[in-house]
């Protein structure tokens, strides 16, 4: 991964006669974290790999015989699995795009506000501090067609009153809306912090040159914000793909399976049907897809990390 030719820099740095070398020091520093991660990440992975090649219905005798690749064949041929992949992709695209666009827009809106920034920011933090499992419940209450406030207000305005969570054509979008509510402030706050951290000089120079607002945005603001926005994008994507809480509390995958995300299907297979073999196999597919995706998404970030780390 590293393109730098690691010539003989370390020797130079070992100037001050320490007890241990830099190399050992650096390894000692990561040791505590690695110990935890190795045990609690690798053991479950080994377990899942093992189980994915076996028959394993936990309610019937636990982990059983070796069955070769049968679980993989079955998962690949499982329509419900692919449907859940579709739901996850749809949800992730919709939620992440909406959150990024709205979040950035809100950040600009607040950034140029002259007064009350502190209080605005304080209020924006609130959804982040709550758990989807709890606030989701109250969104269910808001969405309710008989008692919910949303339809009540729509009724007052003589607008159509959709069955937010019961209509199979919009249930997924209602889950997206909930996610947007919870996470747009996160994007907005980070984008706002990014905006505020931007250096003043280039913008003053651009102003002197008489550059248009749009040109400033395109050539100065966005390029400078890009790293932080990219980071937020990656964070939100990883979280959205693992969508579970919101679905569990709002729709439980329903109506039918229209909101059944991959992780919810995984939950149903693993913790309702107790077919750990399929569940583990699906988890491995999931991991595989994420690894391939992150190889593309994260390599630039990691390269940046290691380049900066090996710079003197």
């Amino acid at each position: 991964m590293s393109q730098s030719l690691s010539v003989s820099l370390p020797q130079q740095r070992r100037a001050s006669g320490a007890v241990i070398s830099d190399r050992w020091f650096s390894i000692l520093l990561i040791a505590p974290a690695m110990a935890v991660i190795l045990v609690f990440a690798l053991l479950p992975l080994v377990y899942a790999l093992n189980v994915s090649f076996r028959f394993a219905d936990l309610t019937r005798g636990g982990i059983g015989d070796f069955v070769g690749l049968d679980n993989y064949r079955r998962v690949l041929a499982d329509r419900a699995f692919w449907a859940s992949v579709g739901v996850t992709v749809k949800f992730t695209l919709a939620a992440v795009i909406l959150e990024m666009v709205l979040g950035i827009a809100i950040a600009f809106l607040i950034h140029s506000a002259t007064k009350g920034k502190g209080i605005i920011r304080s209020l924006m933090v609130l959804p982040l501090a709550t758990s989807a499992a709890v606030t989701g419940l109250f969104w269910r209450y808001l969405y309710d067609t008989q008692f919910g406030l949303i339809n009540y207000f729509l009724g007052l305005l003589h607008l159509p009153q959709p069955n937010w969570l019961g209509d199979y054509t919009i249930a997924l979008w209602s889950v997206v809306l909930f996610d947007v509510w919870q996470w747009t402030p996160f994007v907005a706050l980070i984008a706002l912090a990014g905006l505020q951290a931007l250096p003043k000089e280039p913008f003053e120079a651009a102003e002197l040159d008489g550059a248009s607002t749009f040109r400033v945005l395109r050539t100065l603001t966005f390029p400078m914000l890009k790293p932080v926005l990219f980071l937020v994008l990656v964070l939100r994507t990883i979280d959205s793909v693992r969508l579970y809480d919101a679905v569990a509390v709002l729709t439980r995958g329903g109506p039918g399976t229209v909101t059944e995300s991959m992780t919810f299907y995984l939950y149903r297979t693993g913790l309702k049907l107790f077919r750990m073999d399929y569940a583990s196999t699906m988890a491995i597919f999931f991991l595989y897809a994420m690894l391939v995706a992150s190889l593309f998404a994260l390599t630039p970030l990691l390269k940046q990390f290691s380049n900066r780390a090996s710079e003197g």
Binding site: L58, T59, R60, G61, G62, R140, Y143, D144, T145, Q146, F147, N163, L165, G166, D167, Y168, T251, R252, G253, G254, P255, G256, T257, V258, R268, L271, K272, L273, F274
Partner: protein, 451 residues
């Protein structure tokens, strides 16, 4: 049931529950054997605490009650069983889960334990006992609560002269609690009104619906449909362990026909939603509905002026028979004490106490106790007599769903196609076929039925 028989049952039950009293005379807190009971959260908590201390007074045992949300109870218990942790000594099982726990050795048979307590066993409503405690000729515990379904309706609407007249004029027969599903549909249609229409001669300030239904993403949709399916003489599983696609399709179509008269929230709620709609005066009747909710439903009489609630047997005299079975975990370190606890909670004294608090008892001696038929107790136990009728009508009934060790998994999956059809995503035929397919997948072929 004659008076004499009841008295002898009472006496037997009394003896069974008082016998060990002498043993526990000298008991230090340190000597108490700890047992843990996993049960449903918020389940008559106060009454249960009293019952538990009643048990602790007689036995040298400390009972630890763990409350779990109903929708998570099954998987939480299975995980502890599979892990053989012994964390739960007494588990709480839904009717469809019994066969799985019994077949896979998660719970201990109590046949021997009850060998000399036959009278207590016989006191459990026989219909309920057959479905909840029996599997492959063994007894697996005692049910301590039943949510057997019936029919709950707004009696004040049914007795209103104007409504009666209008109904008769429209349908040609008298408005009364329905005895067939066709009548039930007519009533649902009849009472469906828009805001501004008149109900009982008064103008409605909000939409009114003919029926409240539980088509949300919860297993209760199949409880509702069970009554319809069973009254057709069919079942969720044939004796060959297959889903009868045609019968399910028909039941599904009946269900869809009724759903037109239910509030839109029917697609997102379960029984508590229906009760909220009832208490807010939005619906006229239920479908096949859990009678244990009667104390809840009666609150409509205070929240809706002029309302009076009625309870009856479900149309065609068939409805879901449900009960929470108390069973003893195979990994329990103290099975003897755990069994004593099961016998105590399912026994007459505790059940009578429980009924006073509004719990729906499973014992004939309690259900038929005259004190609970007293009009003064109507708001808590007004449904007991109806329950007795239902048990009587359904005597000898068995469902293959409760006799297959895959019952729990099927039960946790079947709402998916049914609900998809209710939401209009697929039609009844597709739902039945999808159900057949997923049941086939769960069982890996035809489901074994253990009789």
């Amino acid at each position: 049931m004659t008076n004499l028989l009841r008295k002898s049952l009472l006496a037997a039950a009394f003896m069974a529950s008082t016998a060990p009293a002498a043993l526990a005379q000298e008991c230090n807190d340190a000597d108490r054997v700890p047992i843990t009971w996993s049960t449903i959260a918020g389940f008559y908590t106060d009454a249960m605490a009293k019952l538990v201390s009643g048990f602790e007074a007689k036995h040298c045992v400390k009972v630890n009650v763990v409350n779990i949300d109903n929708s998570q109870l099954y998987n939480k218990q299975v995980i502890e069983m599979v892990g053989e942790t012994g964390a739960y000594d007494v588990v709480t099982l839904e009717t469809s889960e019994k066969a799985e726990f019994a077949e896979n050795g998660f719970i201990l048979p109590m046949t021997d334990y009850f060998a000399d307590k036959k009278a207590q066993l016989d006191d459990v409503a026989p219909t309920l006992a057959a479905l909840t405690t029996q599997y492959k000729n063994d007894t697996w515990g005692l049910p301590y609560y039943t949510y057997t379904a019936g029919y709950i309706y707004r009696a004040d609407l049914f007795e209103d002269a104007g409504e009666k007249e209008a109904f008769k004029a429209k349908y040609g027969y008298d408005l009364a609690a329905p005895t067939t599903w066709a009548q039930h549909r007519d009533i649902a249609e009849f009472f469906t009104r828009k805001k501004g229409d008149k109900l009982k001669g008064e103008e409605l300030t909000k939409d009114f619906y003919g029926i409240g239904m539980m088509a949300g993403p919860f297993p209760e949709i199949q409880d509702e449909m069970s009554g319809v399916l069973w009254s057709q003489g069919s079942d969720w599983l044939t004796d060959e362990g297959k889903v009868p696609v045609d019968a399910v399709e028909k039941a599904m179509n009946d269900y869809l026909a009724l759903l037109k008269f239910a509030p839109p929230a029917a697609l997102t709620v379960t029984y508590d939603g229906v009760m909220n709609q009832m208490k807010d005066g939005q619906i006229a009747q239920t479908y096949s509905f859990f009678l244990d909710q009667w104390p809840n439903a009666v609150q409509t009489e205070t929240s809706v002026p002029g309302a009076r609630m009625g309870v009856a047997e479900a149309p065609e005299k068939k409805a879901y028979i449900g009960g929470f079975l108390l069973a003893v975990s195979a990994s329990s370190a103290h099975p003897k004490e755990a069994m004593d606890f099961v016998a105590y909670i399912g026994g007459h004294d505790a059940q009578a106490e429980f009924a006073k608090a509004g719990g729906t008892s499973t014992l004939m001696s309690v259900l038929s106790d005259p004190q609970f038929a007293d009009p003064a107790n109507r708001t808590k136990t007004g449904h007991f007599s109806t329950l007795l009728t239902i048990f009587d009508s359904m005597k000898g009934f068995r469902s293959n769903l409760f006799d297959t060790p895959f019952g729990a998994k099927i039960y946790n999956t079947m709402q998916i196609p049914l609900q998809a059809a209710a939401a209009g995503q697929i039609d009844a035929r597709q739902a039945a076929e999808q159900l057949a397919e997923s049941v086939d997948q769960i069982c890996g072929g035809p489901c074994p039925i253990g009789k």
